[in-house]
């Protein structure tokens, strides 16, 4: 193992205080990573830096520089790419897949219910206040059932792992989760740079994602649509941090990328202006927020929406994906009740665990949280992107005290969770290869069928010991492999 002395062997993957996806807890090589061990050990140090530079150049050339959904930060900053793949065995993925699909189904059932009869509220399984007083509850769509009963067509579920068989959901993204272009581009770049790896390992492809997405969107065309549905992607424009992703998906699906000004309402339908004249639009995959969709229904000052769109939508002339109002299923206070949704709507036990969550709005929970603040993670109910968040064990005394004051002043705005020992995956760092914490965002597609491409976005906290994987906080991305049986 001569090479390990130079810092490339698995031996050097130092820490033993958590679950490493390559070496477990005991340091024994786990099967899915067997071939990667040979790969990394055989890689000379010069080649590694050469390849890393090549990867970065490729990413830059593609122009993929945006921040992941809601993270803010500098949109033009290049998000670091780590070449060491993250690997799941077929059996691990099969289990995850069942859990993800189950959750996506329950979230959609919840949405149809709370905009309909509200059975789950009547049954007392979730407090009505969390649903109907939620900012994301959209009364303009109450009583409306979208085609096929689907509100959230692309469900991004953020998952962390704490052991060989333990996965927890950190949060759900039911509106317009982004980042799938990283899944596609990471794979493309890895295949280009390391074709041998893809010959030696049997890795499930992810490049059919756009085809499945296209099929999913077409499957929810309105009843009034006759013939092949015309699908478009509605973007707020090129200054948006995820514009690259919008244009990539439009290209891959072979559909038009439009801005609000390219669409107009006439009579019962929505049309796109094209060089061949107006063309009726059946399905809009929108990447803009509810509030900006239609100035005649929501914010009157919206310049990126389509006036009259909501009237056409609600009278069945066009489908909007995700459906307006889907956000009520994915805030951090409603999150606590997702396992309850699985039991209530599906009559099943949840396959994926939630992270234990204390609602600081409840007096007894707040007391508990204030008591153990230095051990806990505290988040804003509506926050995202790792901002406005306390990681107790990593925080200074002052920070802890600052949060104590925030919590006391406005407890309902916060939730708290235990600090999880997130799994690590070997990652190329300055000194060689070292374990770094990761999470996973798979993209579950819900239309007539529920489908999941085997893979997702793996985000990695590049700072040693850091548990925050958000790109705004120094996170990077990895290719995510699912091995074939």
């Amino acid at each position: 193992m001569g090479k390990s002395a130079r810092g490339f062997g698995v031996d050097s993957i130092g820490r033993r205080d958590g679950f490493d996806e390559m070496t477990g807890t005991g340091g024994d090589l786990r099967q899915p990573y067997a071939r990667l061990q040979d790969w990394v050990q055989a890689m000379p140090v010069e080649l590694r830096s050469l390849k890393q530079a090549e990867a970065e150049a490729l990413f830059r050339r593609i122009g993929i520089t945006f921040a992941v959904y809601g993270e803010g930060g500098d949109p033009d900053r290049l998000i670091p790419f780590d070449m060491f793949p993250r690997v799941f065995s077929a059996a691990e993925w099969a289990r995850l897949e069942r859990g993800i699909k189950q959750r996506a189904r329950a979230l959609n059932a919840f949405l149809v219910d709370v905009y309909g009869r509200g059975e789950i509220v009547r049954a007392g399984r979730i407090p009505s206040r969390l649903v109907y007083r939620n900012e994301a509850y959209e009364k303009e769509v109450a009583g409306f059932v979208p085609p096929k009963g689907v509100y959230s067509h692309i469900v991004g579920i953020d998952i962390v792992r704490t052991g060989p068989d333990r996965f927890h959901v950190l949060e759900d993204n039911c509106r317009t989760p982004s980042g799938v272009s990283y899944m596609l581009e990471s794979r493309e770049i890895m295949m280009r740079m390391f074709p041998d790896l893809f010959r030696e390992n049997r890795i499930e492809p992810v490049d059919n994602y756009s085809e499945v997405l296209r099929r999913t969107l077409a499957s929810v065309a309105p009843l009034k649509c006759d013939g092949d549905p015309n699908v478009v992607i509605l973007t707020p424009g090129h200054y948006n941090s995820a514009y690259y992703e919008h244009s990539l998906l439009a290209d891959l699906m072979g559909v038009d990328l439009v801005e609000g000004q390219d669409l107009f309402v006439e009579g019962e339908y929505v049309y796109a202006r094209t060089t061949e004249g107006p063309k009726r639009v059946d399905v809009i995959y929108r990447r803009i927020d509810d509030a900006f969709l239609d100035p005649l229904c929501f914010r009157p000052d919206s310049m990126v929406g389509v006036p009259g769109l909501m009237d056409v939508y609600r009278s069945g002339g066009v489908s909007i994906c995700s459906a307006p109002g889907a956000g009520v299923a994915d805030d951090k206070a409603v999150y606590t009740y997702v396992p309850e949704m699985v039991r209530f709507y599906l009559g099943e036990e949840p396959l994926l665990e939630n992270v234990q969550t204390w609602q600081c709005g409840k007096a007894e929970d707040l007391a508990y949280v204030l008591d153990r603040l230095p051990e806990l993670v505290v988040k804003e109910v509506h926050g995202s992107g790792g901002y406005g968040m306390l990681v107790g064990p990593k925080a200074s005394r002052e920070e802890v005290e600052r949060f104590r004051a925030l919590l006391t002043a406005d407890p309902g705005n916060y939730i708290a969770q235990p600090t999880l020992a997130l799994s690590t995956v070997p990652t190329f760092v300055e000194e060689g290869v070292a374990p770094r914490h990761v999470d996973l965002r798979p993209y579950c597609l819900v239309g007539e069928r529920i489908e999941l491409v085997p893979g997702g976005l793996t985000r990695v906290a590049l700072k040693e010991g850091s548990l925050v994987v958000n790109s705004s906080q120094g996170g990077g991305v990895k290719d995510t492999w699912v091995l074939a049986e």
């Binding site: 100035p295 005649l296 009157p300 006036p307 009237d311 069945g316 002339g317």
Partner: protein, 269 residues
């Protein structure tokens, strides 16, 4: 009571617009106490969209007008037979739970003045409390056309101590919410034979939710609950959301003039 409505809204554009889109809540609610005998809405040069009933029970109808046009007239004509229900809204099919109407909007945001006004009254009974809140609002804001404008907030109107029906309704919604009572803005028509009838004919009031009774209308401007003189059209969080006409025109920038004529008459034909 048999009410005749004749309502014409005319938009005039200095520079002709390329197109216009409107969303209407201009059809009387399907509820007890009002029966439509005939009703017609027309838009000059307009193409109607597919109308639908929304979750709050309102009939919503989209319209588009292809340009260039320099004038668009929206005409509403019809007859409704009304009956006094003591302000209680019954029979309207809606799926939005009352609790959803505890949301603040910029027009109905609470400030200290509104909060103090809301908490200045007390009653053991919810209905009684609603009456008292409506009375407090009527007492605090004098009817004074021209003192406020379309974007005046409840807090501003209270500070001015003057306003019109829109300001009264906004203030009452804000005060109700301060007492944890769901409240909403209602737009409609009013037959008034007294002075100022023309100005009040396109009217607005508030509905507050009373467990056991449901939604109950309160009109602080007239210190009463809606009766047979009222025609209910639609509701929303505030005036903007409940507007009978929401519209937008696209075209070259230029002056836009708005002319509204409303007549509500009674008769036995």
């Amino acid at each position: 009571m048999l009410l005749h409505v004749d309502h014409v809204t005319t938009y005039r554009y200095e520079a002709p617009v390329r197109s216009a889109v409107q969303s209407h809540r201009l059809t009387p609610s399907l509820c007890e106490g009002q029966r439509v005998l005939d009703w017609e809405v027309t838009v000059t040069g307009g193409t109607p969209g597919a109308g639908f009933r929304d979750g709050a029970g309102d009939f919503v109808q989209g319209w588009t007008v292809a340009g260039p046009v320099s004038e668009i007239a929206v005409t509403v004509r019809g007859r409704v037979e009304t009956r006094d229900t003591a302000g209680v809204l019954r029979g309207l099919r809606e799926s939005v739970p009352p609790e959803a109407y505890l949301r603040e909007t910029p027009a109905t945001a609470l400030d200290r003045g509104l909060r103090d006004l809301a908490l200045s009254v007390q009653a053991a009974d919810r209905l009684d409390l609603c009456h008292q809140l409506a009375g407090a609002v009527a007492g605090a804001i004098a009817y004074a056309p021209g003192a406020t404008h379309a974007h005046t907030t409840a807090a501003e109107a209270l500070a001015l101590a003057e306003g019109v029906c829109q300001d009264h309704a906004h203030a009452l919604i804000a005060c109700a919410r301060a007492q944890d009572i769901p409240a909403r803005y209602v737009s409609g028509y009013l037959f008034a034979d007294a002075e100022g009838a023309a100005q009040e004919a396109a009217h607005a009031w508030a509905e507050l939710h009373v467990p056991g009774l449901g939604w109950v209308g309160f009109d602080p401007a007239n210190r009463c609950c809606p009766d047979a003189r009222y025609i209910r059209l639609g509701s929303g969080f505030d005036a903007q959301a409940a507007a009978p006409i929401r519209g937008i025109a696209r075209g070259p920038a230029g002056r836009e003039a708005l002319d509204v004529r409303v007549a509500v008459l009674t008769g036995e034909q």
